[in-house]
């Protein structure tokens, strides 16, 4: 018989990482369902393609490195699902596969696999496919059509497309979408990032489960809202501008799912707060001056690079008194 030695607080707790990933995967289910209601089975298939390809690539990567595949921790599955849910429902099936391949083979595996990546793999994969195939991004079908999208990619050219709220923000003028429409997700956008009400509920669930941390997400949203209020791009009053900026594109989605990635985010509370503020700043700067209508994934990659520095600075700022006292006594 084998007994496991463990330290004092004998809590029954499963592996934290895999549980977090399981939480995230549970949360994606309602988002997929809502997308299926608007567009049929196609978006669900796209998300599943992303998931399967990411898991497959990670297995292959581990075998290539002659290590035992660790698929059960679920991080590859989350990466795949994140990429799959941020593409347009009109994109071809190989697009999430290409994104997952970049995320796993160029960002995750060379750094040593799960838990060691410097940058968020999903954000990097998405950024790579956005840069390489910009034609497939930012064209979204009309959700008010009520007809499911055709499953084969050939018949997609006849689908009516609409400009998304993010594109309207980029071009300026009057916003066409009321706050209710925005909350219900009744506007063109990426597969998983439109249902704002569901996203908020998901965020609350993950906050309660402590999968995501309030120190990052609240400063992030507050910075975005502040910048949207200070520099509005649409004529719809203060609330209109803030609502449109926060709900359009994948600002909220990236804030909930990518920014809180425990591997790439800082660990200190002050570092996390600064990280959130910086991410909000970068996202809004990308929107105001960037080449694309939405640049949240680029902003997240940028802010990932600052994570370690912010962590250290936060720790120093909090422990400054203690360090000084120790120096004086020494």
């Amino acid at each position: 018989m084998n007994f496991k030695m463990a330290h004092a607080p004998h809590l029954r707790c499963s592996e934290r990482g895999s549980q977090m990933c399981a939480d995230l995967l549970i949360v994606f289910a309602p988002l997929c369902v809502l997308s299926a209601i608007y567009y049929g089975v196609r978006p669900v298939l796209l998300v599943l393609t992303g998931l399967l390809s990411a898991v497959l690539f990670e297995t292959f990567g581990y075998l290539l490195m002659r290590r035992k595949p660790k698929i059960s921790d679920g991080s590859a599955a989350v990466t795949g699902v994140l990429i799959g849910s941020l593409v347009s429902p009109l994109s071809p099936y190989w697009l999430p596969v290409a994104g997952a391949a970049f995320a796993i083979f160029a960002v995750k595996m060379p750094m040593g696999g799960s838990g060691r990546n410097l940058f968020n793999p999903a954000a990097a994969g998405l950024a790579a496919v956005t840069l390489c195939f910009p034609g497939f991004f930012f064209t979204y079908p009309d959700p008010g059509l009520g007809i499911p999208l055709p499953l084969s990619s050939r018949a997609l050219s006849e689908v009516i497309t609409l400009s998304s709220p993010a594109a309207q923000l980029a071009s300026g003028g009057q916003t066409l979408y009321s706050p209710t429409m925005l909350l219900l997700g009744n506007f063109p956008g990426p597969i998983g990032a439109t249902a704002i009400a569901i996203l908020l509920a998901c965020g609350l669930f993950l906050l309660v489960r402590r999968t995501i941390t309030p120190y990052i997400i609240f400063p992030y949203l507050a910075t975005c809202a502040l910048l949207a209020a200070l520099f509005p791009r649409v004529s719809g009053g203060l609330t209109g501008s803030v609502m449109a900026e926060l709900c359009s594109g994948y600002l909220l989605f990236c804030g909930i799912f990518m920014l809180n990635d425990p591997v790439t985010a800082p660990r200190h509370w002050l570092g996390r707060t600064a990280y959130g503020v910086l991410a909000g700043l970068f996202v809004m700067l990308m929107r105001y001056f960037g080449r694309f209508e939405e640049g949240a994934c680029f902003a997240i990659l940028l802010v990932n690079a600052f994570a370690t520095t912010l962590d250290r600075l936060g720790w120093y700022a909090v422990n400054l008194k203690r360090i000084k006292r120790r120096r004086h006594s020494a």
């Binding site: 160029a106 060379p110 840069l131 390489c132």
Partner: protein, 220 residues
Amino acid sequence: MSKVEKQPFSKTMTEIKNVFLDTFLTKNIVLVQAIGITPILAAGVTLQKGVVLTLCTAAVLLPASLFMSLFGDKLPTWVRAPIYSVGAALILLGAAVLLDRSVSNELYASLYVFLPLTAVNTLVSYRAGGFSVSHVPVVALTDAIASSLGFGLVICVVSALREMASFGTLWGETLNFAIVLPEAALPYAAFLLLGFMAAFLQWIQSVIARRENASVRLNG
């Protein structure tokens, strides 16, 4: 005095060999020491540009290293950088005229600012201003040659791959590719390539080190 004026010939030869191998390969100037990355990112887009930049770097680095090795330690530190930068700029002026008049006007136009920028490249300031000052001319020249070759190897590989990926050509000749990615000409593609090449170099070195360890264990 850091310079050794007289030392046995065989010792100098070993030093030359070590310096060459280190700068060119094992501690590659770009991949390990991360010096002179800017022209690779910005201008290493086609193989022709890569070769031109390699030649320009060599043309600047060789005289600058020789000069600094001969007179560097007689000059005060604050004079050194202006001297080799101005000298490098003068050489590049000649190179630019040569390239424009007798090689290709288009190539010169497409390189525009990156050709004169070679004068203030960290490659020159590190090798000519740092290494050469404290070494004898032969070693300094070897280092300059190895630096140019190491830089040239990396920029040629990166620019050839980027040219094939983004334009579907190599040295201006059209290749038949089904997929062409114009975005490979952006700097981020070069960053990725450099990262993978650096990792590949480290991997090769770790394999060699492991084999050497194994043979030492067998023999000892």
